[in-house]
């Protein structure tokens, strides 16, 4: 039952965190291709311009640190860029071109804030790991999230449950994308921090009256 996606069909990996935060937000960005920046997203963007330097690879204490590593998975149907991938010398690892010995990769994703309640950052990290596993034919037990606000690194265990979540989300994303479908609004507390709130108009459905009734009402009021 494993489907593989062609290169044209791949979706941005970073979308998985939007998707798990709010499916409508994901669809607005990836299906409708709308984007609106707010202070939070601007901070994230600036943080990443510092991290992203593809020409910068260093080796420290047996650990190779590579930045801006492009990855993809044809079975997940996702592609993206890992902020940082650390390769540590390990017997469970793989050979890397240009290096002696075997190395085990671990993706590191940079986030502007602090650890969130919902595991959407973990899912994004896990998706990166799944891509790396597919590309390097290796199994990756852990990855790391680095939170800019608290300057702290968190170890994330890539459990089977987390991997499953990611696979299911990726599949669902492809279903929506193929249909060109934007789910309806389900307002929740996350709407407050969402930079797309004015595009989404979360109050539009549910509370508002039908547009045709509004027009009649306005005309009749004299």
């Amino acid at each position: 039952m494993t489907t593989t996606y062609s290169p044209e069909e791949l979706l941005p990996l970073s979308g998985i965190q939007h998707f798990l935060f709010c499916r409508r937000q994901w669809a607005l960005i990836h299906v409708e291709r709308q984007w609106q920046e707010n202070a939070l997203t601007a901070e994230g963007r600036i943080l990443h311009t510092r991290v992203d330097d593809p020409s910068f690879t260093e080796k420290r204490k047996g650990v190779i640190v590579a930045r801006s590593v492009p990855v993809a998975s044809t079975s997940l149907g996702l592609f993206g860029v890992c902020d940082v991938v650390e390769f540590s010398e390990s017997a469970q690892g793989v050979h890397l071109p240009g290096y002696q010995g075997t190395y085990l990769p671990a993706p590191v994703e940079y986030k502007r804030g602090k650890k969130k309640l919902e595991p959407s950052d973990e899912a994004q990290l896990c998706a990166q790991a799944l891509c790396l596993e597919e590309m390097l034919a290796v199994s990756i037990p852990v990855g790391y999230l680095y939170y800019g606000q608290v300057r702290r690194r968190v170890t994330v265990e890539l459990t089977e449950a987390l991997r499953d979540r990611v696979r299911r989300a990726a599949q669902e994303m492809h279903t929506y994308f193929q249909r060109g479908y934007t789910p309806k609004v389900k307002p929740f507390k996350g709407c407050k921090s969402c930079s797309l709130a004015d595009i989404c108009l979360p109050r539009l459905q549910g509370e508002a009256m039908p547009a045709s009734a509004y027009i009649r009402q306005q005309i009749e009021r004299g």
Partner: protein
């Protein structure tokens, strides 16, 4: 609701704009005249000759900041757009609807209703606030006429007849518009709408405000992913932003006409700021234009209650809100396009 960003208007003809980090830098004679963070900007409108650095154009495109160039006299020249916003599925749906007579008629009906109702509000407010200074019976007659027009428009019509009704309503409205000029009646006497070129001061002022509004509406439409050139009420014509003109109909009385009257009635501008050329065409001078731009910006900060969204929003967000609502209708999330009714 989204925060209304600032608009940077560059009216100094010799100014040059460039990018420095996250800032836009305005240079004059190679010295920095101003430095503003891009972060709070929504639009940059240039009336200058040297223009803008390519780096700044790129930064604006990336950050969704509108960038447009007008001739020093206010005529539209160019607009910088980045990667196309929005979904091609939305645009295809828009094109499909634009080919469908009944869909066009439905959207156009909303827009014409909005326009006529809002023109009526302009008149009704004058009756309410200045009964001693205006010819109440004539204004009342026009208001009643417009009310009847609303019924005819609502009765269901083709796009062709809607255009006729809209034209009728507009000429009736502009017939009494001159009455709403309460001060400086000589300098700003108004008989009828004239354009290309405007033949009196009031028409010159209106034309300038309509240009500003067209640009803002077009960029709002583009932001939500609609094609500003494919309209429902206005017929297709190469180079004409028909959808922007469609959406302007309902917003003109609210954002432009009312502001023009306030500027004149509060004597913020005077007849001295205009020159009539040999051809009869009227030009506005730089100082007046600046005055108008400042008032325009101020006006946009004022808040109103949007009767459909039931949210308080600044006037300046109206183009954006209406564009979003239209996109939601095109996508099928709403059962009609809800125009903005000014109460």
């Amino acid at each position: 609701m989204k925060k209304l960003g600032n608009i940077l208007y560059v009216t100094t003809p010799e100014a040059y704009l460039s990018l420095d980090g996250e800032n836009v830098v305005v240079k004059r004679d190679d010295t920095t005249a101003m430095r503003l963070p891009l972060h709070n900007l929504e639009n940059i409108v240039c009336f200058n000759y040297p223009g803008v650095s390519p780096a700044l154009m790129g930064a604006c495109a990336e950050r969704n900041i509108g960038l447009c160039f007008l001739r020093p006299n206010g005529r539209f020249l160019a607009r910088v757009t980045g990667r196309q916003k929005g979904n091609l599925l939305l645009r295809k749906k828009q094109y499909e609807l634009s080919q469908c007579e009944s869909a066009c008629a439905s959207i156009a009906t909303s827009m014409v209703l909005g326009k006529i109702a809002n023109c009526r509000t302009v008149i009704n407010r004058a009756i309410r606030d200045h009964a001693l200074l205006v010819d109440v019976s004539e204004l009342r007659a026009t208001s009643d006429f417009l009310k009847q027009m609303l019924q005819s428009v609502q009765a269901g019509a083709t796009v062709e007849t809607l255009r006729g009704l809209e034209g009728n309503a507009a000429s009736r409205y502009f017939r009494v518009f001159g009455q709403l000029v309460l001060h400086q009646r000589e300098a700003f006497a108004f008989e009828a709408r004239t354009r290309r070129p405007p033949q009196d001061n009031m028409n010159a002022l209106l034309s300038f405000l309509y240009t500003l509004l067209t640009y803002e509406v077009a960029s709002a439409l583009e932001t939500v992913g609609l094609d500003p050139y494919v309209g429902f009420l206005h017929a297709d014509r190469p180079g004409r932003p028909s959808l922007a003109l469609d959406m302007m109909e309902e917003l003109r009385p609210v954002l432009a006409d009312r502001l023009a009257l306030s500027l004149v009635n509060r004597k913020q501008i005077s007849g001295k700021g205009f020159t009539q050329k040999e051809s009869g065409g009227v030009l506005m001078d730089d100082r007046t234009r600046k005055e108008v731009l400042v008032a325009w910006q101020k006006r946009k900060q004022e808040e109103i209650l949007h009767p459909f969204l039931k949210e308080r929003i600044p006037f300046g967000l109206l183009p954006h809100v209406q564009a979003s609502l239209l996109a939601r209708y095109v996508r099928g999330d709403l059962d009609a396009y809800p125009p903005f009714f000014w109460n």
